[in-house]
Amino acid sequence: MASATAPSSGGATSFAGGLRGVQEQHTITVLVNNEPGVLARVSGLFARRGYNIESLTVSITEDPLVSRMTIVVAGDADVLEQITKQLHKLVDVLKVYDYLDTPLLARELALVKVNAEAGQRLELMQLIDIFRGRVIDVSDRTYVIEVTGGSDKIDAFEKQMEQFGVRELVRTGRIAMMRGPRTV
């Protein structure tokens, strides 16, 4: 599983090409033409071939004509090979990159609305500090906390917040980038 400091898309079991028959989580970056309907083309491809998307984010890039999708998907090596090739066939897809064995930086952002009763605020603030989160909204009973990091870290933070009572939670999907000077 990916974490904030030592992320890997496949974990210790992966090697070049991946394992056939072994389910692995993959992070894929897809660069697409910034055109209407592209999201439907990509998500439709996943749906009709029976691939499960765990998360999908779409954003702008440094090039206004290009959008960037980050897709987290689980499957064995054969399934991932098919997904990558089928994505390549879409006319609006410029580039597909599976971060298998590539050191990557992966981040998510979460907003958590938790109960912040008077007697618990100190403890809450300490935890937020440990996770390097920020309080971005305060009411007399609740805080809204912003926290970023790898999905493991956010999972852990989510768990820590349960004791206070989570009223609402929202997470972005994963975004990812290669370490070092290389680009997708």
Binding site: A40, D78, E81, V91
Partner: protein, 618 residues
């Protein structure tokens, strides 16, 4: 840099002209009136008025099949566009280059459920290589040229361009020469075969003791028949083809094994099963070819050549995967392949299978009955195996594939992947247009399929096209009936087509010559009569009702399950009666009381026993 100023509609026609389009198949409607107004004044494109958009789509497919050019179909918005869904899917499955142009409601009412509005780009997303909704007339010329480029490049396929009516009417100023130079950085199709992999393939071929060439539609699309013949001859490799590969290798060649797969020849399937090297050229390991994948060519190494990278390792892992055009692969390969004469043992073994398990085609001399296989063989014989043949889908299609004996590429036009009943007649019409309107096209059809697009007879009639329909009329949906007989305890549920029109009169109603043939001794004279008649002919061949297609490997099974021929034991013969009569059903409808319902449940032997493996493919 000469720009022209014109309407969207006229720009469209100019783009079609520049793409070499001479014929389009279409049906007018509100949203395409501006296009039809331009067609009214147009002298360089022949527009064929079809009788149903589905027929138009299949005609464009037949045209593309026969010529290798891009087929073009034009339809209006809403229902006109949705009627194209089946031909588009068919073209997608069989990799047929097709450009569909549809009208759309005015841009300002799109998304407002306007009259005859359908989100056709949304609907056809999974069944086209790509599609466009043209919202700005300035994009139209570029999109049309891109559409043709995508349809014909790489693995061919269908595309759709949706043009709102106001875009057709709008004025555009553009440079037609510049826009014709398509540049798409996001679409790659010119895959070059990897030289290293070609050398490896040559080494595999040099070492193989029992090689087989498995040739699909990709070899036809790449015009690779001459190179294929050279390779087979030089090394002595036997050749089996898929349904769409038929004709790419002449079936009268000693190395030809005919078709493989579910209804392929026994010897082709035995050869593939026992081979040590399978050379797949433009074929995709379809389930109708492989049956159970893990038991398909179990001892073989695989060389897989395909223009579509996604076909590599999709079904069968290849030892030598090669992405590229089959013809350029063969041209490269032939530089390294040495002649061999040590494959005689392998070919002798295959020869024994050929002698032991030939395709059987009773000619009626024993039983006096009119057999479909015999009719097909007679059509082939009397046309010197030279006629272009289209088929519909079902038993007649498999018999045509088995018994016609194709000689040349693009001779056999059929709906393979999608299995579209209703394809045959319009495809024959489209092929006849593509071939110039003089070359006879035989449509081998069934009584079920023929009725699905029968209205297009009018087009054949108007243009007096030499389309000869050999209707193998067994008064059944024969293939479903065969499965019901073999796997569903002869529950002939809704496959009886005895209640049918008089096909001779039906033909005559369209102004088409109708003939009927009921006895084997009349077949030759009837076919000669049809050939001598100018223009279209429909022949109603009243063939045996309950004949099965053999050999057959049941769905999802292995070569060990192959039923090679009709069982010899008469007890295993199908009873030559039908226990379902039309009209009898209403009396069988009874109100099931709770008591009866329980009893029925207890007595239902159709439920699988616990632990029984149910073959869902059946």
């Amino acid at each position: 840099m000469a720009t022209i100023k014109t309407t969207g509609a006229r720009a469209l026609l100019e783009c079609l002209r520049r793409e070499g389009v001479d014929t389009i198949f279409g049906y007018p409607g509100g949203a395409v009136i501006p296009l039809y107004d331009e067609l009214y004044h147009c002298d360089f494109i022949r527009h064929v008025l079809v009788r149903h958009e589905q027929g138009g789509g299949h005609m464009a497919e037949g045209y593309a099949h026969a010529t290798g050019k891009v087929g073009v179909v034009l339809a209006t918005s809403g229902p006109g566009a949705t009627n194209l869904v089946t031909p588009l899917t068919d073209a997608m499955m069989d990799s047929i280059p097709l450009v569909a142009i549809t009208g759309q409601v005015r841009t300002e009412v799109i998304g407002k459920d306007a009259f005859q509005e359908a989100d056709i780009t949304g609907i056809t997303m999974p069944i086209t290589k790509h599609n466009w909704l043209v919202k700005d007339v300035r994009d139209l010329p570029r999109i049309i040229h891109e559409a043709f480029h995508i349809a014909r490049s790489g693995r061919p396929g269908p595309v759709l361009v949706d043009i709102p009516v106001d875009v057709s009417r709008a004025v555009v100023e553009y440079d037609p020469d510049a826009v014709q130079q398509v540049e798409m950085k996001s679409f790659k199709s010119n895959f070059k075969v990897n030289a290293l992999q070609v050398k490896r393939a040559a080494e595999f071929i040099a070492e193989a003791k029992r090689p087989v060439l498995y040739v699909g539609g990709g070899a036809k699309a790449a015009h690779a028949h001459e190179e294929l013949l050279e390779l087979a001859n030089r090394v002595g490799i036997p050749v089996t083809t898929t349904l769409h590969g038929l004709g790419t290798f002449p079936e009268n060649h000693p190395l030809s094994l005919g078709m493989l797969g579910m209804h392929g020849t026994a010897y082709a399937n035995y050869a593939v099963h026992h081979c040590d090297l399978l050379i797949a050229l433009g074929a995709r390991f379809d389930d109708r070819v492989t049956g159970k994948v893990s038991a398909f060519a179990p001892g073989a190494k695989v060389i897989h050549v395909d223009i579509d990278p996604a076909e590599m390792n999709k079904v069968r892992r290849a030892e030598v995967p090669i992405v590229g055009d089959v013809r350029s692969f063969l041209n490269e390969l032939l530089k390294y392949v040495e002649p061999r004469n040590d494959l005689a043992a392998w070919n002798n073994e295959i020869g024994k299978w050929k002698a032991e398990f030939p395709l059987e085609a009773p000619d009626g001399s024993e039983d006096g009955l009119l057999h479909s296989e015999f009719v097909i063989r007679e059509v082939a014989r009397l046309t010197n195996n030279d006629a272009v043949v289209t088929t519909d889908v079902g038993q007649h299609q498999m018999w045509a594939a088995q018994h016609f004996g194709m000689r040349k590429p693009r001779q056999f036009i059929t709906s393979g992947g999608l299995g579209t009943m209703g394809f045959g007649l319009p495809a024959a019409i489209g092929a006849a247009f593509g071939l110039g309107g003089e070359t006879p096209v035989w449509c081998i059809s069934g009584d079920g399929s023929f009725q699905m697009c029968v209205q297009e007879l009018m087009v054949a009639s108007i243009y007096q096209l030499p389309v000869k329909v050999a209707l193998l009329n067994n008064q059944f949906l024969g293939m479903v009936r065969q499965w019901q007989e073999m796997f569903w305890q002869r529950h002939y549920s809704h496959v009886n087509l005895e209640a049918a029109p008089d096909f001779v009169k039906l033909a005559e109603a369209y102004g088409v010559r109708g003939l009927r043939c009921e006895r084997p001794e009349d077949v030759e004279a009837t076919i000669r009569e049809a050939m001598a008649t100018p223009g279209p002919v429909v022949i109603d061949f009243r063939v045996t009702r309950e004949t099965n297609v053999y050999p057959m490997i049941p769905s999802g099974q292995t070569i060990d399950d192959m039923v090679v021929r009709r069982p010899d034991d008469p007890a295993e013969e199908p009873v030559n009666t039908c226990h379902v009569t039309p009209g009898a059903k209403p009396s069988e409808v009874v109100v099931v009381t709770a008591q009866q319902g329980e009893n029925q449940e207890a007595a239902d032997d159709r439920l699988p026993a616990p632990g029984e493996v149910v073959d869902v493919a059946r």
